[in-house]
Symmetry: C2
Subunit: 465 residues, 2 copies
């Protein structure tokens, strides 16, 4: 919400209060549908429906599609059956489907009752596509051409049927059975000879996806090839819809947010941050916190096994946070880099050996660097300035031994963390789980456990506990 | 790289080996420029330049723009001065600028020497825009119209000058001084009366950004409004370029990757995962590991202060990993949610109180849930099954006291972690730093320190140490 919008809102509310409807309509007419939707959301609930009715019919559907589901519901319940029917015809299939998925059952029933049989059948077909599939984000309003049309005829057809299509800048060539044969962009038609045949100028190497492909794959294709839209076909390669670049943008943003949330141990939500209630946020966050708290039992068990040693060399525990923090960070770096590369399609499962070999070497390099730095830091700073009191006997010797144990642990922990950080996301992908869940918090638990085991094994061997 | 590409590559290499150039050219002609670039990358270095020369001139520039900088350099050094000059004229300004930014100084010098004075001046102007600004991602190939043109004249102009424009689907209306006055999309022209004036059908409420705006802001606008392109103006509102939706997509993907890397304590890189060398990856990761290792000194110092207490109640240390893990996770959840919301524009600085109040309540809810769960778990499982040996005296009483200390710490640590996780990213944004750096690893260090302080304070008070 920009500053300008808030100002406009105050002007508009003033006009509404004074019942100066003509001026109000004139003002909102200048608005972009997206801004108009933002403006409507600022009005109090009991005015929303009244404000919405003032929009001209031809923009009303566009504005409606941009509204939050709760406002859509508010407006729908105030509509007559006839108005609902008209609105449904104006909406693009994908927007209609998006809306229906968020409405309570009784509202859905009422909406569907007022649809034409054709629209109802189409919506039902679209609603049946699996969540996160290409079918669930595509729309049915595309332009189809035939190979034997001339460019002139094609432009005439676009002029005739294009007004309510999602895009007029790309058209698909199909045969009598609606099988996809080629693609023509409006730019080609504009520069071709009017008598050229579509079959001659069309691109036969048409990129497409099927209704059951993952929506992220579709969005990545649109992004990779820099195209305006991607046609979606069924199992018989019959054209059934298209996904436009603005839908792809939305998918990619949503998927990136979901990945980020999962990596941070949050259950994903499709609502913007300020729109979720405290309870919803709690529900997104508490399951992972509980799970990770329970898994920390492993680390507790290990520490308990060495309780006696800790009683004598309490100084050992002073390095717990540093060791576990470093291991967790090192593992997190690797897993997050790989998760992101997987979702951008930069890394695939078949690259597992290449990735593992790379991470192993990076782990050795990082481990060696940190080990040296840690040794210098612990000996030169921590022990030199007597930051820690020490165990009863052999202070200097013990300091050296403890420093060495810490260095060895840092090195091993980083190498192990990088290995775990590589294998967990790739393993998850392999067995069909979402790699994003295998990020920092989960890896931290495993790496913490391994780090403590290494630390105590080395320390007790060196100190002769 | 898809399966098909690898197959095609083998066919193509075979044709090349047998010097069947005509067939080779026929094959690559069918390729999409993006796929062609992927294919070229598969050839050995010494063949790359030879393969590239086989592409037709009109697609060569498109393919070139899609290549990695190292391959672009390889091809450029094998080109004659004349070929370089021709290529430069064919490239869109943004692609030319992208390439020049990656070339070594001597190559840049040679390229610029072969540019026409006009192109050279334009490229120099584009190179001067700050990194990550709108100016640095825009291109200069747009279509401009005048208000007094008819739609017929406008379409004729698009046909005349549109062939080498980045997009023909949107045109901008400017006055004699090149000041932006309105926008017309090709769809409008297609459906308007040929004699209608551009000034009458254009949209005067044109969205735009200025050359010095952040490229992420530009990409977010394109995404928010679902538009094909956004015009970019200078300080006098003169039209100087446009950013298209495919460039916006790339910006958003890059920015999301950068944010994810920063959140995982990795210095961002603009190369894909498999393209970075082991040394580059080491350089991306080791600085943060070192920094976080050093900051762990705080936690060590706190633990050392309570060395005596740990000597007596070693069992206390068994819960270090769980307490610090929970605190770190809780803080990470909040900071990551806020960082993402900031970069999507869902949360702004002025929302700080609303966000803080929300996180405080979420913190209390999560803290209370975890505290109860921890108490039950520690009493019913850990102590019940004697998972830990215990201190010499008063076992049952001590168990209860230790459990209570742990619960109180879990509760306080979560609330504090949520507060720190809110304030750090928002504070970073306020003073102009990148909020993404204030994610999990950084917050973990702070939260670890605070958690340990709370834990020892409560435990020593309750146990009377």
């Amino acid at each position: 919400m920009s500053e300008t919008n808030v100002l406009e809102f105050e002007t508009l509310q003033e006009l509404l209060l004074q019942k100066r409807y003509a001026e109000f309509i004139q003002e909102i007419d200048k608005c972009n549908p997206v801004d108009a939707a933002d403006l409507i959301a600022l009005f109090p609930e009991d005015q929303v429906s009244r404000v919405f009715r003032l929009f001209k019919k031809d923009v009303a559907a566009e504005v409606f599609a941009e509204l939050d589901p709760d406002l859509q519901e508010l407006i729908i319940v105030h509509m007559t059956d006839r108005e609902i029917g008209e609105m449904l015809e104006e909406l693009y299939t994908d927007d209609a489907v998006d809306m229906l998925e968020e409405m309570p059952a009784n509202v859905v029933k009422r909406i569907m009752k007022n649809a034409t049989p054709q629209t109802r059948e189409e919506i039902n077909r679209f609603l049946a596509y699996p969540e996160e599939s290409a079918g669930s984000v595509m729309t049915s309003e595309f332009i189809d051409l035939r190979k034997n049309m001339t460019c002139e005829e094609a432009i005439a057809r676009i002029r005739r049927i294009g007004l309510d299509k999602e895009t007029v800048y790309v058209a698909y060539v199909t045969d009598q059975k609606r099988v996809l044969e080629g693609v023509v962009v409006l730019k080609q038609l504009l520069f071709a000879n009017p008598q050229d045949l579509i079959g001659d100028i069309m691109n036969e190497n048409v990129l497409y996806a099927t209704t059951h492909d993952d929506r992220e794959k579709v969005a990545n294709m649109i992004s990779h090839y820099g195209i305006i839209a991607l046609p979606i076909v069924d199992k018989e390669k019959r054209l059934v819809g298209l996904v436009t670049v603005d839908d792809a943008l939305e998918v990619l943003e949503t998927e990136a947010t979901e990945d980020i949330e999962k990596m941070a141990a949050i259950l994903p939500s499709d609502k913007p941050y300020l729109k979720t209630t405290v309870w919803e946020t709690w529900k997104q966050r508490v399951p992972w916190l509980l799970l990770l708290m329970l898994t920390a039992t492993f680390t507790s068990t290990i520490i308990t096994k060495y309780e006696a040693a800790i009683g004598t060399y309490a100084i050992l525990t002073a390095f717990f946070p540093m060791l576990m923090g470093t291991g967790g960070n090192a593992g997190g770096q690797t897993s997050v880099a790989i998760i992101r590369a997987l979702s951008l399609g930069e890394v695939e499962l078949k690259n597992v050996f290449r990735v593992f070999w790379k991470e192993l070497r990076v782990g050795v390099l990082c481990g060696a660097t940190l080990a040296v730095a840690t040794f210098v830091k612990v000996m030169a700073i921590d022990f030199h300035f007597q930051m820690y009191s020490t165990s009863p006997t052999g202070q200097v010797q013990n300091n050296l031994i403890i420093s060495l144990a810490i260095c060895a642990t840092v090195f091993s922990a980083i190498v192990v963390a990088k290995a775990v950080g590589t294998l967990l996301p790739l393993g998850a992908k392999k067995i069909g789980l979402d790699p994003a869940v295998m990020a920092s918090p989960f890896i931290t638990t495993i790496v913490d456990t391994v780090t403590l085991m290494i630390y105590f094994t080395i320390a007790s061997a060196l100190l002769g506990i």
